[in-house]
């Protein structure tokens, strides 16, 4: 076992770190107080440098794509990465991007659809893709920190089936979702740790109170386990490992998100502080692919019944 990246992965991650530390990735409030800040320039930097194709590179692989998704989820700015760097890279590399993913109900609102150029469907027994022509998507005003939209009722899309097993694709998408959720938890945790280290009440930093330390330490334990389970699932690419990583992270995320908001106080409820950028992605991702109950039951089925 080796928990450290190989040489190519290390180089990939170090260039990525420069990009995620650049001002494009950082916090700025949206001029219209929208809940997300799509960074077209960060997106372009990543695309131009081939980052989104890493899953197809033998020495980088799905582990690199999961790491990429995780690291981008840690920054306040938004880029469509999870679907592009996993499903598109592995199953439909010629599809235009950004892409949106339909997991279950083709009429439900999903992230990125209003800005996506293509959509991938995993709800049937085949992997289906379609390009999005103007007018087929209806934007939805949403609680969550993504551009959200749904397919307009009666919209005609030109669905094409692509090669690949839909169970494998769902496993890959579970890995991507787990990695993105783990990254959101870590991004939010880092922001709250910074806040409670600086904010003083009762003559000392909030972070010196043991009640807060212990709950943040518990959150850190879960976030760390989630990160490694996501990477292991990416390395193994089995439905069991994918369901485990996603189910564990979703189950853990409820309490973690609640605590992150708790310790940020009223400031965490504003759109002037970035906390919501992580927590209002996490709250949606917690329900992804059926949510913790469905994914933990899927893990049970894979582990104990070979289903």
């Amino acid at each position: 076992m080796r928990f450290t990246p190989n040489e190519d992965q290390a180089a990939f991650l170090s260039v990525l770190a420069q990009m995620t530390e650049a001002p494009e990735a950082g916090w700025k409030a949206s001029p219209d107080w929208s809940r997300f800040d799509y960074s077209a320039s960060l997106d372009r930097m990543l695309e131009d440098n081939g980052f989104f194709e890493c899953a197809r590179e033998p020495t980088l692989g799905l582990v690199a794509a999961a790491s990429l998704t995780y690291q981008l989820a840690r920054v306040p700015a938004l880029v469509e990465c999870a679907a592009t760097s996993t499903l598109r890279a592995l199953f439909a590399p010629d599809l235009p991007r950004p892409v949106a993913v339909i997991e279950t109900d083709p009429l439900q609102a999903v992230p990125f659809l209003p800005t996506a150029k293509a959509v991938i469907r995993l709800d049937g027994d085949k992997i289906a893709v379609a390009q999005l022509e103007p007018g087929v998507v209806q934007e939805v005003s949403s609680l969550f920190a993504y551009p959200m939209g749904k397919l307009a009722a009666g919209a005609k899309l030109d669905w094409q089936t692509v090669d690949g097993d839909v169970h494998d694709a769902r496993a890959v998408w579970s890995v991507a979702t787990a990695a993105e959720l783990a990254g959101c938890l870590k991004g939010g945790l880092d922001a709250v740790v910074k806040h409670v280290s600086e904010r003083q009440q009762f003559g000392r930093p909030l972070g010196a109170f043991q009640a807060i330390q212990h709950r943040l330490a518990q959150a850190a334990t879960k976030a760390e386990a989630a990160y490694w389970l996501a990477l292991r699932a990416a390395d193994r690419r089995t439905p069991a490992d994918a369901a485990l990583a996603l189910g564990y992270t979703q189950e853990a995320s409820g309490r973690v998100v609640q605590d992150l908001h708790q310790f940020m106080g009223a400031m965490g409820l504003t759109l002037e502080h970035p906390l919501h950028r992580w927590t209002y992605r996490a709250r949606l991702l917690r329900a992804g692919l059926g949510g913790p109950t469905a994914n933990l039951r899927a893990y049970y089925a894979r582990k104990w019944t070979n289903a």
Partner: protein, 384 residues
């Protein structure tokens, strides 16, 4: 990154399993039911460990110089998983393998090494750890047992408590204060004490975790030669820092939890309850907690195998392990209650009995959470 066992690791695990299969008697679950500190299990270990040693499976990771095989850290860990999951047939001797032996190799005098390491390597030495005292638990630096220099000797007076295995131990790895009462961490030394020395009295404490496991150990005018001191006066704290870093993730408790959970699910499936959605959810969740604990523990082992120092990573792992064990116990108690109220599932009972320890021994969960907060998250120092 690579999260799979190597072919070599797998072959080693198969060897350990084959050995256990062959050497554990049919009534082993009954013996193991009473815990690693019980008389039954300790006596068993004195027969079992020499066989392990002869097969090269007692301390494969130790240096050749001390009878080991210079094998990778991972083999030590695979061995620990298989032994603990089997109910720990090494009894108390896992401590020698995990940390007392390595501590003596690093800090012992040549005489101490010659005297104590060969019996450990032969599988015939039982040690106990005399750290905790009635007024010094989590706050170990407050310990009061005194060792006063008298010519070429030290005279030791004081009381230890919760001392596992003390009833049958040959030797004690003892912490005592050589400085004055206010000397704190800087005034403590380690003594390697023969448990037959006059003045030592051991009383077993009746407990929830198996008979003969924990004890009170009294020291009244116990005279030991100065050569029994390990390291210098005042050096104890840095030495045990090294020792306990090895101990904190020393017991692979998630492995037993995960195997017990597997047996619980098999039993429920036999009973035709495998399709119950609630059981599937709760079992999936408990299994996920076991895997979370496992991967955090593996991360620390992997760091150690690369020679990297393990710090708060060990605390993260321990917090997750305590949670995993608890969720497996709760699962069993809820869905297989009759297996816990009766006595035909000794393995379930043994798990139930042991799981209560994890959040307390070797540094309570709150102590681990404090370490994570300050050393992992970098939060400011609070009250304790």
């Amino acid at each position: 990154m690579d999260f799979e066992w190597s072919a070599e690791d797998r072959a080693f695990r198969a060897r350990v399993r084959a050995f256990l299969e062959k050497e554990l008697p049919a009534n082993w679950p009954e013996i193991a039911r009473h815990g690693p500190g019980s008389r039954e299990q300790t006596e068993f270990s004195l027969e079992f460990c020499p066989k392990l040693a002869a097969a090269g499976l007692l301390m494969p990771h130790w240096p050749k110089q001390w009878g080991g095989g210079d094998r990778p850290t991972w083999e030590h860990f695979i061995l620990g998983e298989e032994m603990w999951a089997a109910g720990e047939p090494r009894g108390a001797q896992y401590m020698n393998v995990n940390w007392i032996g390595p501590t003596l190799m690093r800090f012992g005098s040549p005489e101490q090494q010659q005297r104590y390491i060969p019996p450990m390597a032969a599988g015939t030495a039982i040690w106990c750890q005399g750290f905790s005292e009635p007024d010094a638990g989590s706050d170990l630096a407050r310990l009061r047992t005194r060792a006063v220099r008298d010519g070429d000797d030290y005279v030791i007076n004081g009381q230890k408590i919760w001392t596992s295995y003390a009833g049958l131990a040959h030797n004690c790895f003892l912490l005592a204060r050589t400085g004055d009462g206010a000397s704190g961490k800087a005034g403590i030394a380690i003594f390697l004490v023969d448990m037959k020395t006059p003045g030592i009295e051991v009383r077993s404490i009746p407990s929830l975790i198996g008979h003969g496991d924990i004890h009170e150990t009294f020291f009244t005018d116990v005279r030991v030669p100065a050569s029994a001191r390990l390291g210098e006066e005042g050096q104890a704290w840095s030495i045990i820092g090294y020792s306990l870093a090895n101990e904190r993730v020393g017991i692979p408790r998630y492995e037993m939890a995960s195997r017990v959970l597997d047996q619980m699910v098999q039993e429920l499936r036999r009973r035709g309850q495998g399709d119950d959605a609630v059981i599937q959810l709760r079992a999936g969740s408990a299994a996920a907690n076991c895997e979370a604990a496992r991967i955090l523990v593996y991360r620390t082992v992997e760091m150690r195998s690369r020679g990297e120092a393990v710090d708060a990573e060990a605390s993260l792992a321990r917090v997750a392990v305590a949670e995993a064990e608890q969720s497996v116990t709760e699962f069993g108690m809820e869905f297989l209650n009759d297996a816990f109220t009766g006595d035909d599932h000794p393995v379930f009972l043994a798990h139930h009995e042991r799981a209560i320890v994890t959040g307390i021994a070797a540094g309570a969960t709150e102590i681990q959470l404090g370490l994570i907060a300050r050393r992992w998250l970098g939060l400011p120092n609070g009250a304790a």
